[in-house]
Symmetry: C2
Subunit: 361 residues, 2 copies
Amino acid sequence: MKPTMKDVARAAGVSVMTVSRAFRRDASISATTRDRIRAVADELGYVLDSVASNLRSQRSGFVAVVIPSINNANFADTVGALTTEIEAAGMEVLLGRSNYDMAEEERLIGQLLRRQPEALVVTGGRHTDRARQMLAGAGIPVVETWDEPARPIGHTVGFSNAAAAAMMVGHLAERGYRRIAFIGGDSSFDTRGADRRRGFVAAMEARGLDASRLITVGPPPVSMREGAAAMAMLLDTLPDTEAVMAVADPAAFGAMMECARRGISVPGDMAIAGFGNFEIAAVAEPSLTTIDPFPARIGAETGALIVRRLRDGAGDGLGDGLGDGVPTLIRVEPQLVVRASTGADIFPDGAITSPWLPRSA
Amino acid sequence: MKPTMKDVARAAGVSVMTVSRAFRRDASISATTRDRIRAVADELGYVLDSVASNLRSQRSGFVAVVIPSINNANFADTVGALTTEIEAAGMEVLLGRSNYDMAEEERLIGQLLRRQPEALVVTGGRHTDRARQMLAGAGIPVVETWDEPARPIGHTVGFSNAAAAAMMVGHLAERGYRRIAFIGGDSSFDTRGADRRRGFVAAMEARGLDASRLITVGPPPVSMREGAAAMAMLLDTLPDTEAVMAVADPAAFGAMMECARRGISVPGDMAIAGFGNFEIAAVAEPSLTTIDPFPARIGAETGALIVRRLRDGAGDGLGDGLGDGVPTLIRVEPQLVVRASTGADIFPDGAITSPWLPRSA
DNA sequence: TCAAGGTATGGTATCGTTAACAAGTCCGTC
DNA sequence: GACGGACTTGTTAACGATACCATACCTTGA
């Protein structure tokens, strides 16, 4: 049927071992033999079977990554940068999407672990008990990203979503807004969104402001459409609201469009802020104040961390979710990006970024 | 080190064969034995090694999918629907991204084929010669999506991008626009974008209109920012342009925002149309006329086709890129979605959809 | 009571590759 | 001219699971 190394070996008049060497980087083989074997293999339509290769060498060559959604520029940027790092090290990324669902995440993790990944990256710090157990017992480096878990399983590359939301509350309060609302999704699904809401409430209360203007739409992702619907509801029920903070930029944009439809000026009558620094935040008119979590940096740091661990820590630290016994915490600090939607009069020339504010803010 | 079936078998006092059966669906094993073995396996932290399983059974259980970008709602919708179908059949999706680069696509296809996928899905109908050769010789069902290839390799689920673009030209011409421009990316990369441009030019010329207003920005994806930059260039160099058709909705939105910044009314002074029916097209103010290619339907049809082929055609048709010798062509007809950006006066209540126009349009 | 058939379990070979070790070849050097 | 070392190639066994076949036991019906 399909040719194997044995067929190639016979056709080329060498042993299978030599054929194997012809398809590997480090192998000691003469250039002439390698070229001849490759030509014969091409002729036969031979394709290396990496399933067999992985079994024998006990190396799968891939890193499993679980993200909530593949249609989200933030996660896409993280995965993109991560993939670049992983591929530079000669490995591949195996992607799974959880649909913001912890049960689905658990199922995915189980499936992925069966394929013997060399490391596993998850998004967020909250998981089902069984998922935690599988991750901790996997015997490979585990990285939780986009969050600072209360109980880290292995390594962490992320930031505090609550603190980042508090930073935005600080900005709005400094600009003089008092009646501030929050638009977000169903908190039992999107833990990062829930953390941002938590940070919003805590920061508002710390300033003595009313933290009860919370508009909850359906399960994540909170889309543009839902942002518009939430803004409509807000305007109908709490028309004296001065500013709105959305769980993410698309929802903020939807809210802004609803204002446009109703003839409500942004930021004149209503300030709007988002989260994520999606492309739309910079392009929209008016441009959108947001928080940049540096998704690509998260991915790059995660990739570099994994490559480092796999190179240095090979063989040790099984069963601890670390791969080498030393848990790493890499903080990627988000940055406030002030644009027109929260005060065009002060920032007419485009974006102004502020440094990370203290946690107490 | 890590426990294998042998360890589980010893601990449970059964043979490895019985342990194997305890982890499979169809296997003939008593419920009591299975539960006992599973409990023992859990205790030991045993995880099935699907690498070994795949090698022995010669079934990998996954379908490889190559898309240009993971951060594109259209492709994400296709992959989402495809994944649903594939997982319903007990298989998994292995995703690769080509960055709109045919050379990278070729590399990816080579990598993916080594992992013995049971089917392979690619985006678009143009590939390097070597990629074509690999696909045709893979001996598994191959599906080209999002396009109607000139020379199909295997099955096709898609539509003519050129005809869809022509449909949009028809709409704009009917609305009375004559000086129509096209904004697109570097055509050597994004073949679908190039086809849309080709369709634009052909349809314009067929109507005796000037088809030379072509603004080319960088390589794909053509982002919102690039759409805005292209519109700026257009307004500076060809200020008498009446309508703009963008290669995709994000670019159209960017163009619209540039108009907003310059105080140019859409559609009053300038009509704008996009492609893809992204969420932003419905939410933006004004809403955006576009073409809906039904990405989810493409994914669902592709998945159903693959599942059918794998069930029916097992074992035959090796080496033809089909999996069973009968090439299938499934047309998913795009639909024109008329919204405010090309004539709010006529369509004040929201979107109006028109049926597929004939090819000659 | 016994044959026939079904169910549950075990033994052995094998999937296609690579690790580990062995051995042959060629070269320069003293 | 013999020897050490570098380089290249070959032999054998094994990775961890499942296909295939064999077998023991249990049920059923004449």
